[in-house]
């Protein structure tokens, strides 16, 4: 266990292992996401109240779910950065922050498009929507702070502190609909209870969530590899990668 942990500290080792996982992540992710989206948008039954307009849930919920989940992963990596000073943890945070920002934006945008026909407004400053907007700004802050500091070590620490401070927002997002009166409805999916929708609706939704997780894994590995190559461009092993292989 500890040996694995120490190996994780080696960017070179990670670069090789990522290559092995990436094709699987990409293919499985694409298959699951596409299957879930086609099923949800074309074949799942209509909602008794909202008709077809509820179908945006098949994009809205997975992107909102992943946006928060990515932040939690970033916070765990930030803790590793601060305590163990592991370079790879910082590579992860820098690589996935833009992905999280895009997904947060997608969740806000689809929510807005959904809100107009159902609630009657594009936007309202209720606790759920506002805390989600704060998450978007946190992502922007992480990206900006990371690129504002050129020294790798101080950049890693500053970003890690910001990410960890921002993690208090995650339970606020999650429980906002229970702690306060909001326009946003409570969660359809709870860990301890059955979802408040029939299986022909939640199964495709679950497929999209799983598919997006795998696609996120692929994209995270891909972006981490790029970041590693950039940081280690002066090392022997990266230079060796660039040499044409098998040439005479």
């Amino acid at each position: 266990m500890w040996q694995f942990f120490h190996k994780l500290g080696s960017p070179r080792w990670f670069y090789g292992i990522a290559n092995r996982f990436m094709p699987w992540l990409l293919v499985m992710g694409l298959v699951l996401t596409l299957a879930g989206i086609v099923w949800g948008l074309a074949f799942a039954p209509q909602d008794y109240l909202q008709g077809n307009s509820y179908r945006i849930i098949f994009i809205h919920v997975p992107s909102a779910f992943l946006a928060q989940s990515i932040y939690v992963m970033m916070a765990s990596a930030a803790l590793v950065t601060l305590v163990w000073h592991m370079k790879l943890a910082d590579v992860f945070v820098k690589a996935v922050a833009p992905v999280g920002a895009v997904l947060t934006f997608l969740a806000l945008f689809t929510g807005s498009v959904w809100g107009k026909p159902t609630w009657g407004t594009w936007w309202i400053w209720d606790a759920r929507l506002t805390s989600m907007l704060i998450l978007l700004f946190l992502y922007f802050g992480v990206i900006a702070l990371g690129s504002a500091i050129s020294d790798a070590k101080s950049s890693a620490r500053a970003v890690a502190v910001l990410v960890l401070v921002g993690v208090v927002n995650i339970p606020i997002i999650k429980y906002s609909v229970e702690w306060w009166n909001t326009l946003h409805q409570p969660a359809t999916f709870k860990l301890t209870e059955k979802p408040t929708m029939p299986a022909e609706m939640w199964v495709p939704l679950l497929l999209v969530v799983l598919g997006l997780y795998l696609l996120f894994g692929w994209l995270a590995f891909y972006r981490m590899q790029t970041e590693i190559l950039d940081r280690e461009r002066r090392t022997q092993w990266v230079k060796a990668l660039n040499k044409p292989q098998g040439a005479a």
Binding site: L79, W119, G120, L164
Partner: protein, 158 residues
């Protein structure tokens, strides 16, 4: 674990806990400002200020919607099943507005307890189901009502 790392971990976790407590206390203190609307029972208890624009929300009471025949004016009661408040609105209601559904209205509470709304938003719950399921649920509820009614009638008839 290395002693130095252990120390760093303790410091980070300690700071995070402190931050969590600080945020929890301040959001708790601001809970009325964070909450989007007042419940009818809060209004009945006099917690909602008059004279200023506030939001009030709850369920539209069954059988309480009265539409004006020659204008867009509409009257309805909003309840949280302990208290209710009468609302007046002049405008186009959202598609999802219906008796038994949630609403959040912005407006002013009049001294006589009537809430004059200038915006009504629909609030839907986390339940999703196909129309057939909703229909059969409704049929089951109707059936139950017709079974209950004669019993009631006979009780009051004597």
């Amino acid at each position: 674990m290395h002693a130095k790392r252990k120390k760093r971990l303790t410091i980070v976790l300690f700071l995070l806990c402190g931050l969590g407590v600080a945020v929890a206390l301040s959001t708790y203190a601001l809970r009325q400002n964070i909450s989007l609307f007042y419940d009818p029972s809060q209004i009945a208890a006099g917690e909602a200020p008059g004279e200023v624009r506030i939001r009030a929300g709850g369920m539209v009471e069954e059988g309480s919607v009265k539409r004006d025949l020659d204008s867009l004016k509409v009257n309805f009661r909003v309840t949280d099943y302990t208290a209710s408040v009468t609302m007046q609105y002049d405008g186009i209601l959202p598609d999802l507005f219906a008796e038994g559904q949630g609403v959040v209205a912005t407006g002013r509470l009049q001294p006589d307890g009537v809430f004059i709304a200038d915006q009504v938003l629909a609030k839907h719950d986390e339940q999703y189901m196909p129309p057939e399921v909703a229909e059969s649920l409704e049929r089951a509820a109707m059936l139950k009502k017709t079974v209950d009614k004669p019993a009631e009638g006979s009780a009051s008839g004597y």
